[in-house]
Symmetry: C2
Subunit: 322 residues, 2 copies
């Protein structure tokens, strides 16, 4: 986060402090809640919100509130996703479903979702409430579609993958940037540009996430390697690898997809199939396409106070290793 101004870093810290504040009187809720928010995530969505809402017109506390709300929504989806995916690790620590149970995860996720809505109502801006309620609905939609797609395997199409990555990731990036701009009372034209910027940045972010899932075999990304693959998910890199594979290789990839345990030898073979020239060229081209699109939308916001930091965020997102 060295590309951020000290004021922005300070705002992100205030978001982290706001997130930790849960006053439910029950110890069990406090315990799970603290456990979740003591491990810090990247808070990319909160940052996007903070950058988009920069304005001298707006009280800083309201910007922190909105960024916190967005981070709460995101965290609720992560807690539920870990149940859906049966994940054991989240942000380098055991997932809630591992420390407690799936049941606790379902309920604490609902608790965090509704807490976010309580704070949204308190913020009191109908257009922001509308956008965030719709984004939350779209995320669930995206996750359901992904769940069904994972049964389709090799017949998945690129536009289906793009739709899922928009709904499950791009949509909240879009809403983060849009609602930030709404809070800062930007013109409807600017709100639109911020939304489009967030949307393409979110897709680029998801593509990089998918790339890192395989890269984690060779360096520390903070996440276990081949997590997507072991969950049976066809992501962008695997999609291209399947397209480029010969029939024997394709059979191998699809045969191993979704296996809980994969030998080192097989992992290396999968890694090679993902990292062959053709596949790498295609996945990098796709990432580049969405990065360029993000920059195109940023270009319309040159006069905005966030310009330099937003440019850094976009550049960093593409090369990040975590």
């Amino acid at each position: 986060m060295n590309y951020l101004k000290p004021t922005t870093k300070n705002e992100l810290n205030r978001v982290q402090t706001a997130l930790k504040k849960e006053l439910a009187s029950e110890k069990i809720i406090q315990d799970i809640y603290e456990y979740i928010f003591n491990t810090e995530g990247k808070k990319t969505r909160a940052l996007l919100s903070l950058l988009s809402s920069k304005s001298s017109k707006i009280k800083p506390s309201e910007r922190i509130d909105l960024a916190s709300i967005i981070e709460l929504l995101h965290t609720a989806t992560l807690v539920h996703d870990d149940v859906v995916d049966g994940s054991e690790v989240r942000r380098g620590s055991k997932s809630v479903n591992q420390v407690w149970t799936n049941s606790y995860s379902v309920l604490i996720g609902d608790f965090i979702y509704s807490k976010a809505f309580i704070l949204m109502v308190k913020l009191g801006i109908p257009s922001i409430l509308d956008e965030l309620a719709k984004a939350t609905n779209d995320i669930a939609r995206g996750e359901i579609i992904q769940l069904e797609l994972s049964e389709k395997k090799e017949s998945i199409k690129l536009n289906e993958l793009l739709k899922v990555s928009y709904l499950k990731t791009g949509r909240l990036f879009e809403a983060s940037a849009k609602t930030g701009a709404m809070l800062a009372e930007k013109s409807s034209e600017e709100v639109k540009s911020f939304g489009l910027l967030g949307r393409s940045l979110g897709t680029a972010f998801q593509i990089q996430d998918d790339i890192l899932d395989y890269a984690a075999l060779k360096f520390d990304t903070g996440k276990p390697a081949f997590k997507d693959f072991k969950e049976g998910k066809i992501t962008f890199p695997l999609y291209f690898a399947i397209q480029n594979a010969n029939s024997k290789e394709r059979k191998f990839l699809l045969g191993k997809l979704g296996a809980k345990k994969i030998t080192n030898k097989d992992q290396n073979k999968i890694y090679q199939l993902i990292h062959n020239d053709g596949t790498q060229k295609e996945i990098n081209a796709l990432l580049e396409k969405y990065s360029k699109e993000t920059l195109k939308h940023l270009n319309k916001l040159k006069h905005h106070a966030c310009y330099n930091e937003m440019l850094n965020l976009i550049t960093f997102s593409k090369v990040r290793k975590k």
Copy 2:
């Protein structure tokens, strides 16, 4: 529902029609959504909302919208509860987690929650949004507390059970009545009375639900018998039975609590321990207490258009067998 006026019955039908309308373009979402809303529930919360919002000042369509929102929220909690409890049956049909999987249930629950919030934002009344967001949060809180309580077994106290039944059931009854009255632009004094009426009605409703779980051994309640008991839940009747049991009987009850399979002989023995005179006297006194309290609050609303039907609802709730 024979105690309702034809206009109210008609309104409940309109709620059912509204609930079924889901325009997500994806077939998988339509399928699960239809499956959930094709099996009709009692819609007690929607009815409570419709009765509380009766007013010539308000467009009927807004009253239907609010009642539908409340029923959506309730349904989302049921879908998630079935995951938490590992339930196989809901409203006489296989639960969503049985027909699909827990993962689909978690996500379609989130989808329905956020849909309810989208509709709430559209309704556009901040005080209603605030109340329903807080109620949703309290329901999750109540479910988490219940989950933790179920590990405490015989050391559970009556006030803990009352707190859980308020949060998981009474709270949404309270919000249904309160927001109905808010929509109908009642005075703050009346809104308060409606809220208190809903709160005590909800607790009475939960007590009757707990009673029916054991009664289901002897007659058709539409639900499997001993569901709570097999899930390891200490509910009101079991609480009193444990208090009244001798040490051998107590050991028997606690030993069987949470068992997936219970022999007919043991089921009969449990039934007898629940239905002994002392336990029945105490559980009926508790039910009577909350019914009376509900009537006390209704007495302040005698001039209200809903009075007679509300009186019928309260009376019916206490004697209902389903």
